[in-house]
Amino acid sequence: MPAMSTFKKSPWVVHFNCNSCNGCDIEFLACLTPVYDLERFGILHVGNPKHADVLLVTGSVNHRNARVLRNVYDQMPAPKVVVACGVCAATGGIFADGYNVLGGIDKVVPVDVFVPGCPARPEAMIDGIIRAAEILESRNTAAITSVSCRKPLHRCTPVPDSPKPV
């Protein structure tokens, strides 16, 4: 891993809670606070997906939030990277058997880094985000057309429309 000072740009992270139990979410918030302090790498947490370079997703995908996740991903400007945090985001985890759970978030968006753990520890998350930032740097320099090694988007499982809000 290169020294942090070699990052040319400051990657901004948007966090999306997909179908999580909150465990990974509060651990991600703990990453931002003084003990772990993600900001020392120049990594900022933002609320607006249009400002963000890194999408950090916790939890699995269900019928209702798959479109929301896809929407957040589509709003982010290219180049962008996705970090799947925790086993739920990877495979569905303990909830994989649920009738409402589609599985890991790679069913909906292409994932660059998987962070294991239930919940993932803050150290592991920071490592995952920094690896994602390295991938982002390589994408910054590469031409958009040469990124074809990524998982193609058309592999997404078609998701039925979520029911209308009551």
Binding site: S20, N22, S60, D97, N100, V101, P165
Partner: protein
């Protein structure tokens, strides 16, 4: 005539750590109606519980919510134990109180920090979460996990607290209280903070009772209701005074949580001091039969589990009613008539846990 507009608040909103949508019907800046739209984190947990073994469900119950995870597993174990007539060893009952109260401290610090973030006091948010890490250190030292502990099991607990660890917890609690005494006055006495909290989101006592508020939301409105008084686990052998306030606004709810931090630290010390020696777990044989309603006081209020067993390894029905679900109708009442800029503070002040609610 003022035109009505509907503003969707969420599901992806910077102030909310979790996805919930509130559709706010506005007249200018004033909210005339708030409609929640949920289901973004529904995992079908109750159905998964029927597919798994009833012992595996302890770990599933723990993952209903990552913030108050220990109490979910504790409530589930207490329910199954009462179904199977298992007498939990005394030491295990006290150990459960220790972990539950440490969890309460962590949960209250978490929400007070998020509240500070919601009204724009980022420094306070960072300080409170920094102190919260000391609480997580206790959990990591005693159980190995920071958030999901996995120590509760049917018939007792899995890990013991040695006298050295007990001393460590006491030292750490003193350090937490010392650091909090420097930080909390800015939450309770600061002029700007009071401007954002006093008189905002008022829930009168009769409304709190009528709408079925639970936990700190009910206690801040003067409804004296705390399940710990019923004496489950080892609470019957410990002394504590229930914290209530009467104003029913966001400030009162904050005060209740701030004062409960001290209560929880005191209960932890009492439980560590009075803890008897002996075994920490008892063997359990057979499968649960019959039905039970298990109740427990969580950081957010009363948690209900309905458990029905039919003598097989799988449960016939597992139903979860979490405190945030009970506090949603009071939230909608509080939001009506308030200003749009106050929505984040009021929403955070009921300590919403959407993952619990949607299971």
């Amino acid at each position: 005539m003022i035109r009505r507009n509907t503003i969707p608040f969420g599901p992806q909103h910077p102030v909310l750590p979790e996805p919930i949508q509130l559709r706010l019907v506005m007249e200018d800046e004033k909210i005339v109606e708030a409609l929640p739209s949920i289901g973004y984190v529904h995992r079908g947990l109750e159905k998964i519980a029927e597919k798994k073994d009833y012992v595996q469900d302890v770990y599933l119950a723990e993952r209903i919510c990552g913030i108050c995870s220990f109490m979910h597993s504790q409530n589930y174990c207490q329910g199954i134990e009462s179904l199977m007539n298992v007498a939990v060893p005394d030491r295990a009952r006290f150990l459960r109180v220790v972990w539950a109260e440490i969890h309460r401290i962590h949960s209250h610090l978490l929400i007070l920090g998020l509240l500070a973030d919601a009204f724009g006091f980022e420094n306070l948010f960072m300080r409170l979460w920094q102190i919260r890490e000391l609480v997580l250190d206790i959990m990591e030292k005693t159980t190995g996990g920071r958030v999901i502990l996995g120590v509760c099991t049917i018939g007792g607990v899995k890990r013991d607290i040695t006298p050295e660890t007990s001393d460590y917890i006491l030292r750490q609690l003193d350090e937490i209280e010392r650091q909090l005494s420097a930080v909390l006055p800015s939450l309770t006495h600061d002029y700007s903070v009071k401007q954002r909290l006093v008189g905002i989101g008022v829930l009168p006592k009769d409304k709190a009772y009528e709408l079925g508020a639970v936990g700190p939301v009910a206690r801040a409105s003067g409804v004296a209701m705390d399940l710990r008084e019923s004496g489950y686990a080892a609470y019957g052998e410990l002394n504590f005074a229930m914290v209530t306030e009467s104003a029913g606004d966001c400030y009162a709810r904050t005060l209740v949580r701030v004062r409960e931090l001290a209560t929880s630290a005191d209960l932890t010390r009492q439980a560590l001091a009075k803890m008897p020696s002996g075994p920490i777990t008892t063997p359990v044989k057979g499968s649960p039969t019959g039905e039970v309603l298990a109740r427990i006081e969580q950081p957010r209020g009363e948690l209900n589990f309905y458990i029905k067993g039919n003598g097989s390894r799988n449960l016939e029905r597992f139903r979860v009613r979490t405190p945030t679900f009970a506090n949603l109708p009071p939230l909608l009442h509080m939001l009506t008539g308030c200003q749009l800029a106050d929505v984040p503070v009021i929403a955070i002040c009921i300590d919403p846990c959407i993952s619990c609610t949607e299971r």
